[in-house]
């Protein structure tokens, strides 16, 4: 078992912007690698270079054992790609979509039809098979899109932000479809802005910033490195902030951060449930009134702040990259 995807010092410049800057990556065969980063970190550029859609200015890359620059046709035969937008043909039915892609993958008409039915079944689209894709929900379109990339069961599958713009239920559907795929042994490289998505699906997470790798590891390694979950307590009276901060520090064993304008104190936690009950009891015991208490994953912005020392992006994009996980 070797590496299905290797990049070595990959560089790509668009005008003044250095989209990739000496990007190194190795994804072992049969694993899922999550490329995590904010908008503009270079995730999509990396995927496009690997999928032979874009030529790098520097460095080299191999996919499924073939150099992307020298043997693009061989690479294309071994990959599937699902971009940020669902590229389904709205006017064709789901089944017609899959048959068309099958024909373009050079299956015989009969084999293309059979494969289409298998994929519809696998992605739970059998009932909607003969409806035009225009009438599909966001999650169904995504699944059809992914199925379209899997007609030939590619060795390496690239997914560029597969769930961006989907509601939680549709995201869950797509995640389930991807888990089934990974169980079949396909190597997957997915880009995402969502920490929880990488956490759910990836064996290995690579964090990108400014076109280079800033951190790498399994989800649990990375989470322990960045402090894992956090507890937030919003108080009714700002005057209680110092007392609450001290209390929080005692329960969690870590230093608490105070956000005065929001009347909020927060601290990293290891055991979500123990921390939550501990804090509730302690607050109650000291007569401090909380308006809201919650345990949440660190936002991508917090992860970035910790890994790179700067925030994930301009203030405007923070709301987009923020991850709120209901407790």
């Amino acid at each position: 078992m070797g590496d299905a995807v290797i990049t070595d010092g990959l560089g790509k410049r668009f005008g003044r912007k250095q989209a990739l800057d000496g990007f190194d990556l190795a994804v072992p065969e049969g694993t899922v690698c999550g490329l995590l980063g904010p908008n503009g970190a270079g995730k999509t550029t990396a995927v496009r270079v690997l999928a032979t859609l874009l030529r790098a200015d520097a460095g080299r890359a191999e996919v499924a054992g073939h150099d992307v620059a020298r043997e693009p046709a061989r690479v294309r035969r071994n990959i599937g790609l699902t971009g940020q937008q669902a590229t389904v043909d709205d006017i064709l039915t789901g089944r017609e979509n899959l048959i068309m892609w099958g024909r373009l993958f050079h299956l015989s008409p009969r084999a293309a039809a059979r494969r289409a039915d298998e994929l519809l079944e696998q992605f739970g689209l059998t009932e909607a098979a003969n409806r035009r894709a225009k009438l599909y929900s966001g999650g169904m379109r995504r699944r059809l899109d992914i199925a379209s990339s899997l007609v030939l069961a590619p060795r390496v599958f690239f997914l560029d932000e597969p769930t961006t713009g989907l509601d939680p239920r549709n995201r869950g559907e797509v995640w389930n479809a991807l888990r089934g795929l990974v169980a079949g042994g396909t190597t997957v490289l997915l880009t995402t802005q969502y920490l929880d998505e990488a956490d759910q699906l990836a064996d290995q997470i690579v964090v990108l910033d400014g076109g280079r790798k800033v951190a790498e590891g399994s989800p649990s390694q990375l989470k322990s490195e960045i402090g894992g979950d956090r507890i937030d307590v919003t108080l009714r009276n700002a005057a209680d902030l110092p007392a609450a901060a001290a209390l929080l520090a005692r329960v969690t064993g870590a230093e608490a951060e105070v956000d005065e304008p929001m009347r909020r104190v927060s601290a990293p936690v290891r055991d979500r449930v123990a921390a939550l009950t501990g804090v509730v009891v302690a607050l109650d015991g000291h007569g401090l009134v909380a308006e809201d208490i919650g345990v949440r994953r660190p936002t991508l912005d917090e992860v970035f702040l910790r890994l790179t020392g700067h925030s994930a992006g301009p203030a405007g994009s923070l709301s987009e990259t923020k991850i709120e996980v209901p407790v």
Binding site: T52, R77, G83, D89, R103, L104, R115, L152
Partner: protein, 275 residues
């Protein structure tokens, strides 16, 4: 999950796959057309409306120099104009495919890459053939006819389709550059291009400078040549300029030149397309 072996290596470029993939793409484009009533309407009803508007509204006030029926004069112009306007349809579908990422998906597939543009042009040619048939029927109804026999008529139809074929490559190239919103505006550009020609009036009736531009317009060459071939030309109408005297030659040369310029441009653009 069933695993299918990848297609045999080196197959993507072979002629068989070029034809097969082109057909797959063309069929998709035709299905789009069939299932989209607005496109059918603008493709077929629009030219008919034009014939009615120009033939009867303007036609009532038009005097053909040297005599002759205006609608007979007009019809070859309508045929050629609708071939020219075909570029707008090509631009908008190509731009829409690109915006939706369909073009990108084609590019990441191990298919014959030339099939994407060949399929597109095949589908567009089929559409144009239908459009032309509708227009010819319409022309026959308003009193136009081809007066010269089978071979010249066939040659005239050939010249019209040649112009359409050339405009497909202009359309693909521009469609890969502009946004779908801008594609809708290409009408505004095509319109004067079709008006400053011999389609509706003879360039000899225009101011001299404008008449010269009109005579050298590629569209005029096709219109003049088809008028000759259909036997709708009035001798007094053929201008004195070299362009007007050699309309048949130019009706072949212009489209060939347009293809020679825009086909490589379109292919190059396709190979570097990004969303």
């Amino acid at each position: 999950m069933t695993t299918l072996a990848a297609a045999p290596p080196k197959s993507a470029g072979s002629l068989r796959w070029v034809l097969s993939d082109s057909w797959t793409v063309a069929r998709r484009d035709l299905v789009h057309w069939v299932r989209n009533p607005t496109v059918i309407f603008s493709g077929l009803a629009f030219p008919i409306m034009f014939v009615m508007l120009y033939g009867y509204v303007f036609g009532s006030a038009m005097v053909v120099p040297g005599g002759g029926d205006y609608r007979e004069f007009l019809m070859p112009g309508m045929f050629a104009q609708s071939m020219m306007f075909g570029a707008a349809a090509t631009i908008s579908v190509v731009a829409a495919d690109r915006a939706r990422g369909v073009t990108e998906r084609f590019r990441s597939m191990p298919m014959a890459q030339s099939a994407v543009v060949i399929g597109r042009s095949t589908a567009d040619m089929v559409n144009s053939l239908l459009e032309l048939a509708v227009l010819v029927g319409c022309g026959l109804l308003v009193g136009w006819s081809a007066n010269t026999g089978f071979l010249p008529t066939l040659a005239a139809v050939g010249l019209l389709l040649l112009l359409r074929f050339a405009m497909i490559w202009v359309g693909i190239f521009l469609g890969l550059i502009v946004s779908p919103e801008a594609a809708g505006a290409t009408w505004a550009l095509l319109f004067p291009l079709t008006m400053i020609s011999n389609t509706f009036v003879s360039p000899s009736q225009m101011p001299t400078w404008l008449g010269t531009v009109a005579e050298w317009n590629p569209l005029s060459a096709t219109v003049a040549a088809t008028r000759q071939l259909f036997g709708n030309a009035v001798p007094e109408l053929v201008g004195e300029s070299w362009a007007a005297q050699n309309a048949l030659l130019l009706a072949v040369a212009w489209p060939v030149l347009i293809v020679a310029v825009f086909l490589p441009l379109a292919v190059r653009r396709y190979n570097s397309v990004s969303r």
